[in-house]
Symmetry: D2
Subunit: 385 residues, 4 copies
């Protein structure tokens, strides 16, 4: 199978997530990085590109220029898909431009700055016939996919309660005032749009819907800017109501000083519950009344195809964040390589699913509902799509 | 030091918590059980009393009768304190009657059916000069006491976030329809008053206030009766606001099918966070930015007096629920034995503190605010005392 | 049922294990402490006894005197059983004297200083018809009893491998030179007989045999005195061979600086394995090829009678070291109360078993084999009884 | 920096470790796979190569042929290093042939079938001036490198005790009789040379020496072939003596039915201990007398350069087995790219170290000592190099 020829916008020196995208793309030999506009600073761009083994001629200082130049190359040579790993305010313009030029897009979350922007991306994709993957990483973990299967198989019975939390501590101090690059744009409303709810809240909300198979239809939220002088939310919590009548609680905070990145989801139904935590990502806990606790482990033969097809190693050989990311990349490559969107349902049923525009729209609707609820004195705010 | 002569109301065969109270009272040789009205069924009462080595003459079929008869005994022989381990609707009448007769009271939580009843207990105690201990067990664990010390010492800095949860699964099915004794009264509004929020929500709220040293001043709650046909809440969640401006989240559910009894509290301040969980009760986790995680362990020499004085064994020798309960009993006995309420501050500063009427009032205010909020379309409801 | 009237030899102020014995005896209201020779220092003895609520007349400064005096009391009043919690070199003379006077004995492990002494205890017990319980605490934990059941039920198939370890750090420095009372006698060959292998090695060996149902028949050991100047072993390891051909490894060290008291046993058979650790004493882990890991939990309804009868609380309410100790005390009381040794098999099959002289003999044979092997240049040394 | 042009011997369809090597090589963009002799079956070889995007002309059905053909290519095009991922009996002939042709070698452990063969590899490397990396994966984990730093910094004081264990269950049944490819050659003495001690015992021994900085100088071993009909050891244990006088215990078993791959090392010194386990590979536990337990976490700023330079992501983003493997590959690439063996000390001090021939020789000496000891009736057998 030919590798997908990949370009990248953003991800120059100083970026965190750009390198993750590149390692994820390289891991399974599905992609070949052929070009990049890694930075608007020509030096940074060239240096990054050359260190990655790119041709100097394909290290572009201007992303729009890259789209033009690459589109002009011969079909068997030009970039086929582009990874966009820039701050949020650039997502929509860059994704739309890429889609319009006929490039598939891999986009960091949240998809855009607003639901309106997200709909514009959707329109561009529909017009171009190109695909888009949104890197909700946690949905790439095999045991998260297994969790989703359990719910779909009815193993938990009707779902009653969803507890999802994402406690982080990295913004517990005003790091943006020290010039830390990540902190600076992520706490800038003009470039990030939303703070904790955009960066990690959307992950939590996506995880809740992905695993439970339900939709959040109403919420009651509190948003805080805990750190003095911060212009954006760094702490959020919400009561949730799902479309089947289940209730839930979501916590997403960046001021849990000392915590790392331990997203966790628990789902309880009539028959039992499941528990997955990023800190022990290869395990999935199953609890039932009057039954021993079961710990299901990545790489074991008793798992569903969805989990197995997203695991590379036998059980006991841990896979982590890059591998979860790579699962999204690989699933997307399979669709592109087959040029067979018609087959994507089969792929998805085998765990080769990936978050896309629909999930991006839901993420934006979630953010907007959280923001509206935080301003409201009414208890419940609908999540409107 | 003479043992405190103890009586008991409730706790006959079929009771869960009665035996816990008795074991807690026996553990440290501070109490001698001398009488009981363990059940309104004379048989059950006699049988329970005799199996505990009581004199047949002090096994009373009627609790009111016991109070009268014991008060009539010689001072050096009669019951000095009484443990009340009956369903909630009996707490106030029994506690008030006992206090009026001059007996100290050890009372299971929640203190009563309403704030009004709680105030009546308070008045009776003040009139009699007798003491009352309320068995909020989790505050009896040494590492919970240590957690409180950390906050008071400023180890976490100003508190910003409190996450408290109490997931249980034992009422995930309609056990009350099968005649299970505990389930029957606990889901009966007439006898329990409140469901999940009374049984476990008050524990969670107390823990949040005890550890953080803050007061919940507003909340936004959802109460559910998840199991079909149930007449009382079995599931609750709330956003919390504390008196220093910190925010919090409380989850108390009895329908987390398959979960045991894993109450957990996390508190985050400007400088770091703490994490205590009932499932690993002898550990207390301390997280700080850019520092290794620390696990402090019960029984170690580096702990505060508050923890050390509530631990009986060297580190690595686990103590559990009965020992936590016994810590409350022992602290109460120390106060009674010294007849020195004036000294109780010193005792408390050494960890010989115990929840009392003030905590009971706050618990009732919490319950009433949760119930009012659940009925309200407004987001925030004050906790009124 | 009448309480067993209990006396105690040793356990005065400064003792660790004496208080544990007393709390264990008190917990389930099976015993009444009626007398004690807590210390050879009359002051310490009186003070300890009075603080425990004893009659001054039954606080004896001399243990031999206590045996005489108590035997002279009326049958319905005199001590029925005596707990011996003294240094090892006193076990045999005190136990033998007590048995000869017709008192049942509860004895701390190791049973004696030598196999010869242990046999003398055995003879005295047989002559007197009295019973003896040896407090191998870890066998009192419900999930250890469950583990034993699993092996007996064939759940693991034929046993192939036993890994048992007892890492401690409390003797990593020369505490005996600082006058710490416990360290002083435990590192004195004249009073302890054996060091790490006596204090914790016998626990590990007992656990291995108790859970596996096998007997260690050969071993290959190394004993070290790691801390400079120490006169006794503080570190031990051995390869084990069991009577069914299974192999094993035992580690017992007191110089694992920083470790608490985390005894752990793993047993593997043809069909799977089990794993129990003191640090998570309420859980028992079951692993099988191609099956999810199962965690069985104390207090759950799916456990055997052996576990259930040694648990006091519903699952999720941790019980610990004192409760495990109390399980031994309660089982012993049941036998004494029924005066029905003939029934002890039934009791044992329900988990009301307790280690006795047979286990004591095996412990001494283990110690002597470890010591012989450590001196030998030959690989294997038989365990001879 | 130019990528290292890499070839591979072995690793065709059905192989486990071949794919791991390829993903590890791809992860950090240090290598480009240019050729392979993935299988002696021409079909398998072509298919594997093409699916990896190789030129058909560089998919060789014969490894010796590949060495000849690649050596004949222009210097700027030909393979520079070759990964050898074949059964053990092929390691020496293939590595020696590759080294003789001037190719650097990345070799799976154990290095060879005997110490004699290992010395022949050493001689070939010395003659050619080429480098060799031996993939002792666990030494690639950042927290293992941190553990080694702790010992070197004296954080634990003089080392006294090393406990290393590698429990696996995958060979608990006679899988080799079912034709499972891995099991078949690994249990065949002619192809594997050693069983459990070769496959996992050498990992454990290497880890013990790597972390402690000590050398095993004597051992006392037991080897078993537990599964009926098996021709090779599948279970091993040994008492160890280190060159500084410390003692240790090693367990390496493939019949711990139900266990995954949980290698663990604990090292105790005068001042404290460390504990690392593959199941929680991003954590390193530090215990000290009278101090809280510390958990150090991969990705944190307080770690040494050795750990930091082997971590790609911020703390809380787990890296796993492939990343550990890739750390070895990257370190090796850095040496090759600089053509600067003189600089390799500096690289190593920054954590860019990798196991090489010296470690391979020690591994073979360990295996031979284990086998000799298992046959001996004497307790101690020296490890002779």
């Amino acid at each position: 199978m030919d590798k997908v020829r990949l370009g990248m916008i953003g991800g120059g020196s100083g970026s965190f997530i750009g390198a993750v995208h590149r390692k994820a793309a390289a891991l399974d030999a599905c992609y070949e990085l052929v070009c990049g506009a890694f930075s608007s600073q020509a030096d940074n761009c060239q240096q990054t590109g050359l260190s990655l083994g790119l041709d100097a001629s394909r290290c572009y200082a201007d992303w729009a220029d890259m789209l033009v130049q690459e589109a002009a190359r011969p079909a068997n040579e030009r970039m086929q898909a582009v990874s966009i790993v820039t701050p949020n305010h650039l997502h929509a313009p860059q994704a739309i431009a890429a889609l319009k030029r006929g490039f598939h897009v891999i986009l960091d979350k949240p998809i855009a700055m607003s639901l309106v922007e997200a709909r514009a991306i959707q329109a561009a994709a529909q017009a171009s016939g190109c695909n888009l993957a949104l890197t909700h990483t946690y949905a790439g973990y095999p045991m998260v996919k297994e969790a989703r299967q359990w719910v779909q198989q009815g193993r938990l019975g009707t779902i009653r309660k969803v507890l999802v939390e994402y406690p982080q501590g990295w913004l517990a101090t005003a790091m943006e005032q020290l010039g830390q690059k990540q902190a600076t744009w992520r706490t800038d409303p003009a470039r990030a749009g939303a703070g904790a709810i955009g960066d990690i809240g959307t992950h939590a909300a996506h995880l809740a819907e992905y695993v439970s198979g339900l939709r959040i239809c109403e919420l009651c939220a509190e948003l805080n800017s805990v750190v003095t002088g911060r212009q954006i939310d760094d702490d959020a919590a919400a009561l949730l109501r799902f479309d089947n009548g289940a209730s839930g609680v979501l916590v997403a905070t960046q001021v849990a000083a000392g915590e790392e990145n331990n997203v966790r989801i628990r789902v309880y139904g009539e028959l039992g519950g499941l528990d997955w935590s990023h800190a022990d990502a290869s395990s999935l806990r199953w609890v039932r009344p009057d039954q021993p606790v079961q710990i299901h482990r990545a790489g074991e033969g008793y798992l569903s195809a969805a989990a197995t097809n997203n695991t590379r190693l036998p059980s006991g050989h841990p896979e982590g964040f890059i591998e979860a990311f790579a699962n999204i990349y690989r699933a997307f490559a399979l669709v592109l390589q087959d040029n067979a969107e018609t087959r994507s349902d089969t792929l998805a049923s085998n765990g080769h699913d990936y978050p896309s525009i629909a999930e991006g729209l839901r993420g934006m609707a979630f953010i907007e509902a959280m923001q509206a609820s935080a301003q409201s004195t009414q208890k419940w705010t609908p999540v409107k799509l």
